[in-house]
Symmetry: C2
Subunit: 321 residues, 2 copies
């Protein structure tokens, strides 16, 4: 198993710099007051396709051989990786096929299609996703780009924390959510290389705590029946990812669903930016653990902003007039 290092993140950054957005870092005095911490938010919800996933997908596509490029790329995805891979492929004149479960939101399918990806619909089971993907691979000899358990994807995701630390110095802590671990592993590579004294703390929904349990026991557990509003974090941690996480991550915290919704609402209301629920998980951990974060300079990566506007989780706290 080949594990990426920080030098691979640096190479990825050179490779993808001209196609990615250098996303802005926002601060919010109301949230600083609320948390008693000094928070910096790296806004990957403003990345192309609306999520950090475009970094890793671009880094993977740009390293294909000419022959591989002609045959195309494929993946299965119900979320941001599918759209990210479709756009990264299109920009490199590479055909892409995205296997999408039939119950995926229409908006996700539209995004994939708009970015030039071919959609193949499958049943919403992991088995049918993998079987359908295998058909594409068999027929077209396409290269499968896994959403996170992939050397080049991890190196690409690491460019986000690299940009972040190059812009904001002396962070005490850098936080990301953890699902498959692509962003977390890449972030840990960059942080520990650039600023070894900065802690890397991941946050995960209590209802999808495979990364937390795996990290505590040092054994990779699969995600079993996760039920969380943070639908980008349902996946199990990848093997390559776990090797890096075990070695370089300082802690993983779990948070309640209620805290996730509260944190998401605070960011929407106070910062006037749209983030998806998964992006709110680190702020939820800050809210649940004031004593740990108070007085600290904390960098949080806001991972993405894609969600269905018709199904928002905000309920009125007051009688509506």
């Amino acid at each position: 198993m080949k594990i990426p290092e920080y030098i691979d993140v640096e190479a990825a950054h050179e490779r993808i710099r001209s196609v990615i957005h250098k996303t802005p870092v926002f601060t919010c005095s109301a949230l600083n007051k609320k948390t008693k911490a000094e928070l910096y938010f790296k806004c990957e919800n403003f990345q192309r396709v609306g999520a950090f996933k475009f970094r890793g997908a671009s880094n993977a596509v740009m390293q294909l051989t000419e022959e591989e490029k002609q045959k195309g790329v494929a993946t299965h995805s119900s979320g941001n990786h599918g759209a990210a891979l479709a756009l990264a492929a299109k920009l490199n004149n590479v055909p892409s096929t995205i296997v999408v479960p039939i119950n995926a939101p229409t908006i996700k399918k539209e995004a994939i299609s708009e970015f030039g990806g071919r959609i193949m619909i499958c049943e919403p089971t992991l088995k049918d996703r993998e079987d359908t993907l295998q058909i594409v691979v068999d027929q077209e000899d396409a290269t499968v780009i896994h959403p996170y358990n992939n050397f080049n994807v991890i190196a690409g995701q690491g460019t986000c924390a690299k940009e972040f630390l190059e812009e904001v110095s002396n962070l005490d802590i850098v936080m990301t959510p953890v699902g498959g671990g692509g962003l977390l592993a890449g972030t840990a590579l960059s942080v520990k290389a650039i600023s070894p004294k900065t802690k890397v703390i991941a946050a995960e929904p209590k209802n999808a705590d495979d990364a937390y349990r795996s990290f505590k026991d040092g054994v990779l557990y699969p995600s079993v029946n996760p039920q969380t509003i943070a639908d980008g974090l349902l996946t199990s941690v990848g093997e390559i990812n776990f090797e890096i996480i075990k070695e370089k991550v300082d802690d993983i915290m779990t948070v309640s669903e209620e805290s996730i919704v509260d944190a998401m609402r605070m960011i929407w209301e106070r910062m006037n930016i749209i983030i998806e629920p998964s992006s709110a998980v680190p702020l939820a951990a800050v809210l649940e653990n004031e004593a740990i974060f108070a007085g600290k300079k904390v960098g949080i990566i806001l991972t993405g902003g894609n969600l269905n506007l018709e199904k928002l989780p905000f309920k009125s706290k007051f009688p509506t007039s």
Copy 2:
């Protein structure tokens, strides 16, 4: 009637520069593709209190005499001006009283209160708003800061377009919505001084078209029973504002309610930022008038981002699963 000029905008900018945010300018390739124009968005939804109103309120408060500061400021407002004045006053150690109609959203009252403003509740009629405000003035000799029909407020709002044109050059058109006309008048002062060949085009809901009718006829009409989702644009144009608008604005366009919601949704979904309905009105005009804007370099001021997340106007376009 004393009418502000660009020199007053310049003085305002020097005065308030250290307390306002220099808001970012965003672009969006998906919206450029959709409109066939080259759009630049000045994000005043990221201004303090979440709206451009903080500029004018600050400029007004900072010019009070010491005696006036001790007596305090007052206004009536169901919207962003109340919160903006409360914060501007607080930052200058000035007491503030905001007269708020009893049916104003709780979130607006919370904002005013959080920024240190004293709230006086009144009935939701213009008469009771003015009567209640008069009580404050009589009792405390407070200075009334009108939300838009005010020399210093207009000069303060003009700093937004000044920043915009200093950052983005060669704009063919600058657009704002128009309600009372504070932002529009200030914008026209700056644009015509900095870049005389740039057109200033305002946009207004068809269902609240007093500015449009006044502009076309050269006579100031009041707003009669306006019914629009763009609740920041219900007010009638002010007299000082109208003098500037008549002279310096190139056109006012009206748009349908449906276009406003479409435009708002596009900005939410494609740019991942939160704007209030009033802010979407200029993009709605671009969408309704493709032939006029195609191929043009267009600057749009996104005026604010304060709205009730529980009452969003987005209806599903698809059967929800």
